[in-house]
């Protein structure tokens, strides 16, 4: 007969690791998206400052 305590122990350990892995991957996805947005904004900002006449606007 399968021991319910044994099943519960291994199932809960599996669940704990799954929840942590899910939390890591969610944070990683969010950070990668943030980074992509920020890089696009930095590129945009540098393109604007390099554009001809950009200095004129500044002054």
């Amino acid at each position: 007969m399968v021991n319910r305590y044994l099943v519960a122990a291994y199932s809960l350990v599996w669940l704990i690791f799954m929840v942590y892995a899910w939390s890591l991957s969610r944070r990683q996805e969010r950070l990668k998206k943030d980074l992509a947005d920020l890089e696009a904004r930095v590129r945009e900002a540098s393109a604007r400052s390099d554009a001809p006449g950009a200095a004129g606007y500044k002054s």
Binding site: N3, Y5, L6, I16, L31, L35
Partner: protein, 227 residues
């Protein structure tokens, strides 16, 4: 390290190792005569406990290295080990009562070993909360390092509790005195299980350090945009 041993390969090795460990736990290791099937909780419980203790020791080492050298990498390492160590410590606290209930007849008792493990878990939480909510650069890391040093003392007490005091928790069967010991098949099984858990620990720490690096990169870009 990520080039020499890519994360995906590391994960594949970990999963394969776990399959071997599960085979050994449920099919290879002999059935213990007194406790029966429930004794198989031992393999995951004890190896998680060893890893949680090792994790705290690594947090301590990373923190001391940070205090000494002010090394960002050492601090990232300590933070990652604390987070992953907390997960392992949670596994210990979940599997312990599930083994205690059928064997001792109680879920929990406040003996020295169980209490010091619970305190270790609370210290892991204190460390992580400090990192999450005290956002004063430089100071947060120092405060966290102090918590890790207190935790290291508790980790030693936790390890030694069953050697120093008579507790409800069994006396050590591994590294214990005369009359202690394990069947060789149980020995191989616990070592393989611990190996799998260690491999997973290193994998999770690597992923967590990667997250810290991404976060720092994002912070740097935000600063560039604000300037």
């Amino acid at each position: 390290m990520s080039k020499a041993f890519p994360l995906r390969l590391h994960l594949a090795v970990t999963l394969a190792w776990f399959l071997v460990a599960l085979y050994m736990i449920f099919l290879y290791a002999p059935r213990e005569l007194t406790m029966g099937e429930v004794q198989r909780i031992f393999y995951i419980h004890v190896s998680s406990a060893w890893t949680a203790l090792l994790g705290y020791f690594l947090v301590f080492l990373g923190s001391v290295a940070y205090l000494w050298k002010r090394s960002r990498a050492a601090d990232d390492f300590a933070y990652a080990c604390a987070e992953v160590g907390f997960v392992y410590c949670s596994c210990v606290l979940v599997t312990g009562p599930l083994w205690a209930k059928p064997v001792w007849g109680i879920w929990w008792t406040w003996d020295a070993r169980l209490t010091s493990t619970f305190v270790l878990w609370l210290l892991y939480i204190a460390y992580l909360m400090l990192r999450a909510y005290v956002t004063n650069p430089g100071r947060t890391e120092v405060l966290a390092a102090v918590v890790s040093i207190i935790g290291a003392v508790d980790a030693v007490v936790d390890y030694m509790a069953i050697r120093w005091w008579r507790t409800q928790h069994p006396q050590p069967v591994i590294g214990g005195g005369e009359g202690s010991g394990l069947d060789p098949r149980m020995w191989y099984t616990i070592l393989v299980t611990w190996g799998a858990l260690l491999c997973l620990f290193v994998y999770l720490v690597r992923v967590r350090i990667g997250l810290a690096e991404l976060r720092r990169e994002a912070r740097q870009l935000r600063r560039e945009l604000a300037a």
